[in-house]
């Protein structure tokens, strides 16, 4: 087979292969989330929102699990409630707020931005900013040293230095 044909066939088949893989992964995700109970929604979009919510809400009992993963009875109650509210047409915010009103801010894996959480949200940006400033200062300073360095020699000194260098290399 000539190399061009190999390349062409790769170009044709590779994207197909990748897509198949992605589909496979997508299927695995849905089966994993619905493994506990079946919660049919009226549309694929709502179904996606529903699973997104289950993954974003934290179980108050098994504190390091979301309510999709947790087997605690309270997590299953919360799943039921999310499902019930969504069947009644509630949007994601309404569902999250209803659960926060009962169980507290703790159930949000994504905390809201307010005065208490400002530091939490802004710290990464602050750290990056401070890092950038430090880098800029260091670079500036070394540039300034470069400017002053050579100019600090007088003509006489320069000649002497050149002499020394020449002697060294010969």
């Amino acid at each position: 087979m000539n190399p061009l044909a190999v390349l062409l066939s790769l170009l044709v088949f590779l994207p197909g292969g990748l897509m198949a893989q992605q589909q496979d992964r997508g299927q695995k995700e849905t089966t994993a989330s619905s493994g506990i109970d079946m919660y049919p929604m009226e549309s694929a979009e709502r179904q996606r929102e529903f699973y997104e919510l289950l993954n974003e809400l934290r179980c108050p009992k098994c504190q390091n699990q979301n309510i999709a993963d947790s087997d605690a009875p309270i997590a299953s109650d919360m799943r039921e409630e999310v499902y019930r509210m969504m069947q009644e047409g509630a949007d994601e915010d309404e569902v999250v707020n209803a659960l926060v009103a009962r169980f507290g801010e703790f159930v949000r894996y994504k905390p809201t931005f307010d005065r208490r959480t400002a530091l939490l949200w802004l710290l990464p940006a602050i750290v990056v900013l401070v890092g950038l400033i430090v880098v800029i200062v260091i670079v500036r300073r070394s540039q300034r040293d470069d400017d002053f360095g050579p100019a600090a020699l007088s003509d006489d000194e320069r000649r002497k230095a050149d002499d020394l260098l020449r002697r060294e290399s010969s």
């Binding site: 108050p60 009992k61 504190q63 605690a72 009875p73 309270i74 109650d77 409630e81 926060v100 009103a101 009962r102 169980f103 507290g104 801010e105 703790f106």
Partner: protein
């Protein structure tokens, strides 16, 4: 000035250390109730002992009471039961029971065998009120003031130590306020 800059990492390390040390010894399982300062959620449940009697948040009006969430399937509830009886009988504390996700016959049997510390018991087989209260593990005990406002929640077993350190001072305070 330059010397001072050298100490910044040490100061930062100490600050972070103090901040983290303050978190040690806290029980992460103990969450503040989201309902503190709010009225008990609206409910209409039957009386455990009298299925025909409908109970509403009215039952909390006019006294500082404890609301104790329990169930026969909850082993820790058995542990605290004697202490609840002690609170009701020796200290005269009004305790309202919330029988949570349980079976009426079993619950009645439990009260018959172990004694009944409750003024009355709300029967909540589907856990609706429990869910609205944010109950995430029985036993839980709430302090409800004269106006029916949730003031405090204790998650876990109530014993003499919890009574003395957490419940008694608060009940005294809320009684004075009311």
């Amino acid at each position: 000035m330059r010397r001072f800059l050298l100490f910044i990492p040490v100061i930062l390390a100490i600050a972070v250390g103090v901040f983290l040390a303050s978190g040690l010894g806290k029980d992460p399982q103990e969450l503040d109730s989201a309902l503190i300062g709010k009225p008990v959620p609206v409910f209409e449940l039957s009386d455990l002992k009298n299925p025909d009697r409908a109970l509403t948040p009215e039952v909390f009006q006019g006294q500082v009471s404890l609301l104790n969430v329990w169930a026969t399937w909850c082993p820790a509830c058995r542990d605290e039961h004697d202490d609840l009886i002690w609170l009701a009988e020796e200290k005269g504390i009004p305790i309202i029971g919330l029988n949570y996700k349980d079976n009426r016959d079993q619950a009645l049997e439990w009260l018959q065998d172990l004694g009944d510390p409750y003024q009355l018991t709300l029967f909540d087989p589907r856990g609706r009120l429990g869910f609205d209260l944010g109950v995430y593990g029985a036993p839980e005990t709430y302090i409800i003031d004269q106006q029916g406002i949730v003031r405090f929640r204790h998650v876990g077993v109530v014993d003499e130590k919890v009574w003395e350190e957490e419940l008694q001072p608060r009940i005294r305070q809320y009684r004075e306020e009311g």
